[in-house]
Amino acid sequence: MLHRFAKFVVASTVLLILAGSLVTSHDAGLSVPDWPTSYGWNMFTFPPRMWVANIFYEHGHRLIASSVGFLMIVLAVWLWVKEPRRWLRWFGVAALAAVIAQGLLGGLTVLFLLPPAVSTAHAALAEIFFCMTVAIALFTSSGWMRGFDLEADRLPVDPVAPTALPLRRLATLTTVLIFAQILVGATMRHTGAGLAIPDFPWMFGHLIPDHWDAKIAVHFAHRVGAVIVAIAVLSTAIYIWRRDINRVELANPALKLILLTIVQMTLGALTIITARNPWINSVHVVCGALVLTMSLVITLRTWRDRFADSSASEASVARRVRLQPDEGGVRA
């Protein structure tokens, strides 16, 4: 049940990221000029008839964010009360702190009229919080607690074969690169550089821009970053398929990661071709977050045996899960 609720928080956070990206894509960040009130009203009593034009996006984002914050409080308390793994209890507290800090950053960026540094930090923390919710969902899954042992009758005390070090490093590097690429993308969005290079696949009609300024440089970095991320993703997937094809918990998300990356690059191209269509641009942001977390899932699973070594209670947790097969879990 806890795992299911954690997955619900993950899904809610996806919706929140979509809502937030729609705010930026519609340039609606300052359409509600006050915070935490909305045009002087309490946020929760602001009349729906006033949710017009861009206010719909900004106010909707605030309400969804508040809801996710509430869900995170429930999840953190639930973990604190029911979760036997001490580190995971504190991880829940950290995720709660992250979402509170995220709310404060959102408010500050409105009050200070969207300074790019604060808005970019808001975007970055959104990704971090999303990663934390995904990690909680993963850590509470029966698959994680069994160590992804596919043989149901094996005891989960020592089921986890160590992952090869190169794969761990490669997967970790891929996740870091994706996060860096998202940071560059967020900087690009919040400095108004989304169309600094207006054509695709060429750049001002050339392979490399024939003139430069700061915005063009940021935009160019995001395009180059996309190529680097694609290479890293492909390398990770190929490594898994060649060496660990039988490890479903790695092979399946590797396939999903490849597919998501293809979709993401297509959305990036369409964002430019459509001159930043707000919905395409926003789905591009959401898909980027999904690419990041899919890579994170692979990375965490490659490090799974380290988690098993570090906590003797994992085994007892796993046993308890085995006794409750209806709990469900992420297997791949």
Binding site: H26, D27, A28, G29, L30, S31, V32, P33, D34, W35, P36, Y39, G40, M50, V52, A53, N54, I55, F56, I73, A76, V77, W80, V81, R89, V93, L96, A97, I100, G103, L104, G107, L108, L111, L113
Partner: protein, 271 residues
């Protein structure tokens, strides 16, 4: 015990959030650094009996682009208030397409240390029918600007100056008014409504009274200009700026004409 710790921690963060939120306060109604009240400015006043006039016309050559159509369907009130198709006011031209409106013409430099009384009457910008009225206007440093919401819907007025302070205030109720002053000269200060993305306006803030905004006949007149040599500048939101030097003698009238060049599909006035 652990649960209690979580709640205490959460409460602490919430309190910190409240403090930060309350610290935001109301946006300032002044931007820049206005001169101290009662300060005596150094310099002389213009002797209007010896002053001259600069007149002229702003023309446009080439095909003027069509004004962008505005889709107001994001706000039912805006739709209700505007029965006819709406267009941006970027290019306001005469019926023959030869003269250009919404051009801000002003004396850019050459005035030396003349001083001018700050007007007490208010400049006004009105949010009406989900448009700014006027779209381009001028006002003086430290002159009060009254910002009105005449619409039965919400607007935020968001000024984005570079030299003065940026501000963003909400006016959710029809009939709401607020006053703002700019403390430094700045040409131009853009305004926008973040609720209705098509709403934009520009104000030129000057420390002297020699400015005008052309109508579609392109004509302007700068009165009571003292004798001297000046740079007169014409600004248009898309076509850029043009400077011209003019030397004016006592009681003299001079004509200064500007011609902007445009390239785009031919437009008739306001569409």
């Amino acid at each position: 015990m652990r649960l209690r710790n979580v709640w205490i921690g959460t409460l602490g963060v919430a309190l910190a959030a409240s403090v930060v939120a309350c610290g935001g306060g109301e946006p300032s109604n002044k931007s820049g650094e206005p001169s101290a009240p009662g300060a005596t400015p150094s310099g002389e006043k213009v002797d209007t009996s010896k002053a001259g006039t600069v007149t002229g016309t702003v023309s446009v050559e080439g095909a003027v682009p069509k004004n962008e159509a505005i889709k107001m369907n994001a706000d039912p009130v805006c739709i209700r208030e505007n029965k006819d198709p709406q267009f941006q006011e970027t290019y306001v031209v005469s019926s023959d397409g030869k003269t250009l409106g919404n051009v801000f013409v002003y004396v850019k430099d050459g005035l030396g240390n003349y001083v001018y009384d700050t007007p007490t009457e208010k400049a006004t910008i009105d949010q009406k029918q989900c448009r700014y009225h006027p779209h381009v206007f001028g006002m003086r440093v430290n002159q009060p600007l009254e910002i009105i919401n005449s619409d039965p819907t919400l607007h935020n007025i968001h000024a984005m100056p570079k030299g003065n302070s940026e501000f963003n205030n909400g006016q959710p109720i029809q009939g709401m008014k607020m006053t703002h002053t700019f403390g430094k000269p700045e040409v131009m200060v853009p305004f926008k409504c973040d609720v209705h993305s098509w709403m934009n306006a520009y104000v030129g803030v000057l420390d002297h009274p020699y400015f005008a905004v052309t109508k579609d006949d392109g004509k302007f007149e700068l009165k009571d200009v003292p004798a001297g040599t000046y740079t007169v500048t014409a600004w248009h939101e898309k076509l850029g700026t043009q400077d011209q030097k003019v030397t004016l003698g006592e009681k003299e009238s001079k004509e200064v004409n500007f011609t902007f060049k445009a390239a785009g599909p031919t437009a008739t006035n306001n569409n």
